[in-house]
Symmetry: C2
Subunit: 135 residues, 2 copies
Amino acid sequence: MSAKFSVGQQASVKRSFSAEEVRQFAELSLDRNPIHLDEKAAAESIFGRRVVHGMLVASLFSALLGQHLPGEGTIFLGADIQFKKPVFLDDEVTAFVQITKVREDKPIVTLRTWCENSKGETVLDGEAVARAPSF
Amino acid sequence: MSAKFSVGQQASVKRSFSAEEVRQFAELSLDRNPIHLDEKAAAESIFGRRVVHGMLVASLFSALLGQHLPGEGTIFLGADIQFKKPVFLDDEVTAFVQITKVREDKPIVTLRTWCENSKGETVLDGEAVARAPSF
């Protein structure tokens, strides 16, 4: 049943988030925290400048799962996300998903999910569980 | 140090997600899974109709943390999210956050985070950890 997926398989996607994209996400999520939107408030925060919403960055995992690994038809069952460092506007982030467990009895896979910034620092780290499309 | 927040404090927000908002989130997240965007593909899926991206629904927790409880200046440290049932387009969802633990040594709180649909069913369930603004 688990022939199609195996431990160690990996997919990744690279992108950055512009001020306009952060503004759009703030409207969609209703998360209008000034640390994301207001240069002055962000400058006075511990980060010193505007940061991308962590949940917007984490949404890249959903994109990878649903389109790459396991791929189209995947159902996202759960996510555990640690926001380890801020992601700044326009910084290039690479999101990775890697299969760490394949259940034998059901088409359910566990993946490590993490993001690195342009310096190679891990900014998000965590795990996802997903139901793969029928094997 | 923990005088300002206490176990049991709760905040909530109610909203629905339109087809247009789901389309916008698909562009922002790069998650263009047909189950969210394509009526026909969604009709043939186990859900029978289009569903809202789970991460878009979960972003309401970020909004609640950053604007209501603990409030402005909060830093989201981690989230554990179980996607228990689909959220359909235009269905009214209420997101809740409730403090379950307040650390004595640091301004860090743990909250249960969950969403209910218009039938009162729990569609998302989980936990968040956040650094509260200085007490």
